[in-house]
């Protein structure tokens, strides 16, 4: 591994600062005090975040290499990658994986379209801007489980106002319609969040540019695709990244709406069932590790594809 020399920036910054401060000794003293204070202030937060995530993930990898069922603790032993073989050759896992992927792709795509529409409405509407912005925040504030119950009762035959919309059957007892309802519930809940992030990007579009395009004869659609979208790209990518990873974690809605019945389990639901219902720590941990790796892969692809637009470079765009 060759160590590439860091860009000169770090050397420049202290030099600039030195100009502002008094003497050299005072600088290094100040500097050291500043460093120490910085570390001290960050230490508690950093410690908590690392302890509660890094350690358990490591422990999870360790557990995933063991046969460990809490109902039969005597049989606990190291079995290498056997759990991974078990999970990866299991059709339930792949069904759940497919369901999760489907939900992620469909909801994020729909949310992007709806969220963009909502953002445009919130940003540009001529009347009732306050009311729309306020109303749009309601789904964000509501507990997911509460919203899920609302959707469940809405589609329950006899009780619900939507139950007879499409057929006389019970929509939550069939696979396709259950999945559609789960997606509807997800979309309802998280579109406002998407819209808010997009609206922040929309605010960056210079009004003059739009006017100029308009005088040059650009249609509304051309103004949207040629002027607004390019400016909004970073905001769109941030919103997509966060929503994709978040959608992949789908759990609450499925738990309440279908409890994973009719092959509607997501990977989170499956991991939960293996742990709490099955009390199988080995298999549960294996799924945890696999989900972690999948999410890491998704994040990696996003960051690779979009490079500096990723939110890690936080100094970039701010409202």
């Amino acid at each position: 591994m060759s160590v590439r020399s860091e860009p000169v920036l770090p050397a420049l910054v202290p030099a600039q600062r030195a100009g502002r401060r008094l003497g050299k000794t005072a600088l290094s003293e100040n500097k050291r005090a500043e460093r120490k204070l910085g570390w001290l202030l960050c230490a508690p937060a950093a410690l908590v975040m690392v302890l509660v995530t890094a350690y358990p993930i490591g422990y999870s990898i360790w557990l995933s290499l063991q046969r460990y069922d809490l109902r039969f603790p005597d049989q606990r032993e190291f079995i290498g990658l056997e759990n991974y073989v078990t999970v990866l050759t299991n059709e339930f896992w792949w069904t759940a994986f497919g369901v999760t992927m489907l939900i992620t792709v469909v909801t994020v795509a729909v949310e992007l379209a709806l969220g963009m529409g909502l953002a445009l409405i919130m940003h540009r509407t001529l009347v009732g801007r306050g009311i729309v912005r306020t109303a749009a925040l309601i789904p964000y504030g509501i507990v997911t489980v509460v919203a899920a119950f609302s959707w469940r009762y809405a589609w329950t035959p006899g009780t619900g106002y939507l139950a007879n919309l499409f057929s006389d059957g019970a929509p939550l007892t069939e696979r396709a319609s259950s999945l559609a309802i789960v997606m509807l519930a997800e979309i309802w809940k998280t579109t406002p969040f998407m819209a808010l992030l997009l609206m922040a990007g929309l605010a960056l579009v210079p009004e003059d540019l739009l006017k100029a395009a308009s005088t040059d004869g650009a249609t509304a659609w051309q103004r949207f695709t040629r002027v607004m979208l390019p400016v909004m790209k970073p905001a769109i990518l941030v919103a997509l990244l966060f929503r994709t990873l978040d959608a992949f974690r789908v759990f609450d809605n499925i738990y309440v709406l279908t409890a994973g019945g009719n092959e509607t389990s997501s990977v989170s639901m499956l991991a939960y069932n293996n742990l709490i219902r099955g009390l199988n720590l080995g298999i549960g941990s294996t799924m945890s590790v696999l989900i972690f790796l999948t999410v890491a892969a998704i994040a990696f692809v996003f960051v690779k594809l979009f490079g500096t637009a990723a939110p890690g470079s936080d100094d970039g765009e701010r409202r």
Partner: protein, 277 residues
């Protein structure tokens, strides 16, 4: 000319109405169910024909709900307080001080914001069982703080960057002590940011279901979202629908009121942090 603006206004107005209806219907529906009498609960109508408060009376009569409500409020408040204090310290350092490792901390916070929480469920379950934290308040508060911290750090550093810190120097020049400068000048400027962050963090903790359902097993630490999913009704032969809806409304109303009241701040907080709450 005037005609086109009226038409445009009408069109926007129509879009507004669609948005508002879309956002409100599920909420109104669950509220409506909570006011229905058992006899009319299954009539499939959107609005109640007979109104009753019995569902609310019944949930406050049972220990199940009241206990869960106390747990929810207590756990969310403590987690919020700790997360905002730790987050404010870190955010101050990030936005004001120059020290190595700053980028790393921001990176770690970002990673945790994207972390699949379900991956922690199995190991935390086992670790907390061994440490005796399983089914206790701290057992939930700890993961909540962890996942609230990135949100708090991002939002607060965005707010802190906007504070004109030179005012502090100016106040001291005018003869204020360090303490006075902080209390009179900086604290009032920082308060809105802290407050907004606290609301976002509180909503996050209040909303959680995954940790609450895996890391608790009894009423000792079970929060309302989980208790809701376990509701069985006052007596065995009673349908819990009305009670669930009433409980749902009880935990929804304060949050919605908060969100509506502090709408503008929440929007700016969410977008500056760009992290989901």
């Amino acid at each position: 000319m005037a005609d086109t603006t009226t038409r445009a206004k009408l069109r926007w107005g129509l879009l507004d109405v669609i948005v508002v209806v879309f956002a409100l219907v599920p909420v109104l529906w669950i509220a409506s169910l909570s006011f229905k009498t058992p006899a009319t609960l299954t009539d499939g109508r959107f609005w109640p024909r007979e109104w009753t408060l019995d569902n609310y009376r019944s949930i406050f009569d049972t220990d199940q709900f009241v206990r869960a409500l106390v747990n929810s409020v207590g756990i969310a408040l403590i987690a919020t307080l700790v997360a905002v204090v730790l987050g404010a310290m870190a955010a101050y350092a990030i936005s004001r001080l120059d020290f190595p490792g700053k980028k790393l901390l921001v990176g770690v916070a970002l990673l945790i914001a994207m972390f699949p929480q379900v991956s922690l469920v199995s190991p935390l379950f086992e670790i907390e069982r061994q440490l005796g934290l399983f089914d206790t308040w701290p057992g939930l508060i700890l993961p909540y703080i962890t996942f609230a911290l990135p949100l708090a750090i991002y939002t607060l550093s965005a707010f802190f960057k906007q504070i004109p810190w030179d005012l502090e120097k100016a106040a001291k020049m005018d003869g204020a002590t360090q303490g006075q400068a902080f209390r009179r000048v900086i604290a009032p400027l920082a308060a809105p940011g802290l407050f907004t962050t606290a609301i976002l963090v509180f909503i996050f903790c209040w909303n959680d279901f995954l940790f609450a359902i895996t890391l608790t097993s009894t009423e000792r630490a079970r929060t309302v979202p989980v208790a809701l999913s376990f509701f069985t009704g006052e007596s065995q032969f009673e349908d819990p629908t009305g009670a669930i809806c009433a409980a749902a409304v009880v935990i929804t109303v304060p949050i919605v009121a908060f969100v509506l009241f502090f709408q503008r701040r929440i929007v700016s907080g969410l977008t500056s942090g760009a992290v989901k709450g």
